[in-house]
Symmetry: C2
Subunit: 466 residues, 2 copies
């Protein structure tokens, strides 16, 4: 076969980047669990009609067929790959409601797929890390304040730039639009959602052409979208626009609560930003977007909101609120900027050098003794000269090379003659371990030697740009 | 919408089972890293021609198309979901050879998809945990002995039945077949691979009808397939059949090495079983299958082998050896037998009771203090009577309920009047924590209280059947 080439939109990381990704995912998951979210993983596929039920998503779905399938089979029960984790979660809740405890707090970290044209920072396959809380019939409003703080905890411990979470509430927008006489609130939201991309003049045109507003109404919508504050003062600014509506009042009260809880947790973390709309139309209350500071131009890395009608069947109704960290998107930005590094490219802390092939069983026993105490260890691939074995470790960033002494079942270390241990040959007596960064070498016993804590695992490092 | 129903072949676990799965995956991953395998994750899709390159797999592939795609687009560059992790890994190695260090040790834990008709223990979507080692040009034979021992370490620490790894070597079979004059070794291997399913009489018929053997040759093939031993004595049994061939000798020497390394590591773990063939035809040397003791009738839960020609392009050649744990298959068997349990259905160790809604901020601070020390904590969803809040914890298996005392910003715990703390009301002084299993309650400070180590995380338990 010819050498394969990458597929646009399907990112693959090399092992050092994958180590960073795993560290980030582990950290996010640990934080979600500290907050009491239970793990869930749903299948990758959903019935197509389920995927197309809500929102502007039909263009993004990958549909599956079995290679050997008759084309006639492919009709009713077609399956598609999920494009987010919220729609599958809502389906899972309905399907398993009788087996779950409500309110149900779950996290879900999985790949999702969207068949869109790839562009910078957009992927066809990417990982999301979601938390959601759903309850039966009604859902306490305090959860809308809780979720962004969990995300702040999860991302706050990582070596990445700080985040700012922008919050809005659909009720504020819809109530305000109704108050000024805009009838097609959904179209208006879609237009306002494009504000950062196309600017206010074009949004005003869209409001008139797609949402049927007057120019005065469009100006009022833009005035609302221009309001932003990191404290409850945004509510006064809205009221100053002179529009009244019961839904607007309800939305403002909910949004004030979220912003105040955020301000208590970490000043400057949360900002009420009334232009935030979110494209998918299943949200019914609070909505979130998240900027990575210094990377604002790349858009949101973490989004979500409250949905009251996504998981509903007959009389059953499970309102929920959720937020989703775009892990691949976040890492893609930081990898692109060279802003994250790792101290070595393999998990191994120790390479056990191999004096000769006959000593392999003895070297395996040394490695096993180190592993039993949690020290990641590999044995040298071959009994090359020690200098070459040390270079094997160096190229991978493995900090320690272990030289077996002349043990009872060793031939005496013939391979050591060209090598680098202190003294110029294989250690005559017991085992020795060498820190190949400093060159320091000392006697060691695999039953109790311990590397410094900072060397035990690969270290993930934030790298200052430039 | 109507209540959704499960999709056959696409298993989904409830959160307690998912907690067990994560524990198993974490344990496997930690062991792989202790052995120096670096993490890798490849995209879910491969070009269809890549997927169809080897083996009898065409019937199993799911092909993708974008919903909005013109049918004309769907031709050349069709994508399919990967059906294993070996083919994508081989492609990744070729694509990134210039950026990798060889020998390259990697692990990969991902979902794979096969569009086959579901049957018991077969899935259309399932998780695999793979390790592979590839090198440039040549690959040391000791790796074939190493991999099954890594798997034994990974599975040995889990609360599951012990495993037995069956090993064979394609060279033994092919050399032997050649030695007795069988010309179509591949067809013969496929026939022998069905031995456990259809029995020796039917395999003999297949050998004659599909591999073109004489009846005497078929008997010889079956005699070889009947040989099994947990030490090097199997080689004598083969030689006693009186067939000679250089490839047979080479294969026997390799297989003896693998079996002897296994016997040194753990007696009885490895057995040479000369009927093991593996369906996929990219294997060229050692092959592995694995039985879970007590579940032998369900087939192999961990398979693999050596492949010399899978990753090759022009002059470049990257021989490899790999082994794959069928995690979903393993867990499906054990869940089906009720053989695994978990001590609670959520990560939370503590529920902070809520005296009244005005105390939520104070309760959030208590929870944050506990989380900072690694104690998974959630705050009660509502200020219901304490008895109801305790039942919330009980239903989820949360072992501790925390009762905030009458703090400076508390209203005094109105919700406590119906509650269960010792003394019959809300604690008048400082905070108290109650072990709701024993009823024991004592004063506690969120800044330093620590649960017993065995309560900190959910415990995964092996359950004896019956």
């Amino acid at each position: 076969m010819s050498r394969p080439t990458p597929l646009s939109g399907f990112p693959e990381w090399l092992p050092p980047q994958r180590m960073i990704e795993q560290y980030v995912l582990d950290r996010i998951r640990a934080t979600f669990e500290l907050h009491g979210f239970a793990p869930l993983e749903t299948r990758a596929v959903e019935p197509l009609d389920q995927l197309l039920r809500k929102g502007e998503t039909s263009k993004e779905v990958y549909v599956l067929r079995r290679l050997q399938e008759d084309s006639a089979d492919a009709s009713d029960d077609a399956l598609g790959l999920h494009f987010d984790l919220t729609v599958p979660f809502a389906r899972f809740v309905l399907e398993n409601a009788g087996k779950l405890q409500f309110p149900f707090r779950r996290y879900q970290i999985q790949k999702v797929w969207r068949g869109e044209r790839p562009q910078e920072g957009r992927y066809r396959e990417f990982a999301q890390a979601d938390i959601d809380i759903v309850d039966r019939d009604t859902l306490g409003p305090h959860y809308e304040a809780e979720l962004p703080l969990v995300v702040a905890d999860a991302l706050g411990g990582l070596p990445i730039p700080p985040i700012r979470i922008q919050v809005n509430n659909r009720k504020v927008c819809e109530g305000f639009y109704r108050g000024v006489g805009v009838t097609d609130a959904e179209a208006a939201l879609r237009a306002v959602d494009k504000l950062d991309k196309i600017g206010p003049a074009k949004v005003a045109e869209l409001l008139v052409s797609t949402a049927g507003t007057t120019e005065a109404q469009a100006r009022a919508c833009l005035a609302l979208a221009g309001i932003s504050a990191s404290d409850a003062s945004f509510a006064d600014a809205v009221l100053a626009l002179g529009v009244t509506d019961p839904l607007l009042d309800e939305g403002l009260a909910e949004l004030v609560r979220v912003v105040q809880a955020g301000a208590e947790h970490a000043p400057g973390l949360l900002v009420a930003d009334l232009k935030i709309a979110r494209g998918l139309d299943y949200y019914t209350g609070t909505v979130y977007e998240t900027q990575l500071r210094g990377y604002e131009r790349f858009g949101s890395i973490c989004s979500g909101g409250r949905y009251d009608n996504l998981a509903a069947s007959g009389d059953e109704r499970y309102p929920g609120v959720g937020i989703s960290i775009g892990v691949t998107r976040l890492l893609g930005l930081l990898f692109g900027a060279g802003a994250l590094g790792v101290s070595r490219s393999v998990p191994s802390c120790v390479l056990v050098a191999l004096p000769d092939e006959d000593s392999r069983a003895r070297c395996d026993r040394i490695a096993a003794a180190l592993r039993r105490r949690g020290i990641a260890t590999e044995v040298s691939p071959s009994a090359a000269k020690y200098g070459k074995q040390i270079r094997y470790a160096e190229r991978r960033g493995i900090p320690y090379v272990w030289f077996p002494g002349a043990g009872p079942d060793s031939g005496g270390g013939a391979g050591g003659s060209g090598g680098a241990p202190a003294g110029g040959g294989a250690p005559a007596g017991g085992d020795q371990v060498k820190d190949i960064r400093s060159g320091a070498q000392c006697p060691a016993d695999a039953a109790n030697w311990q590397p410094p804590a900072e060397d035990l695992h690969p270290r993930i490092l934030g790298v200052s740009p430039g």
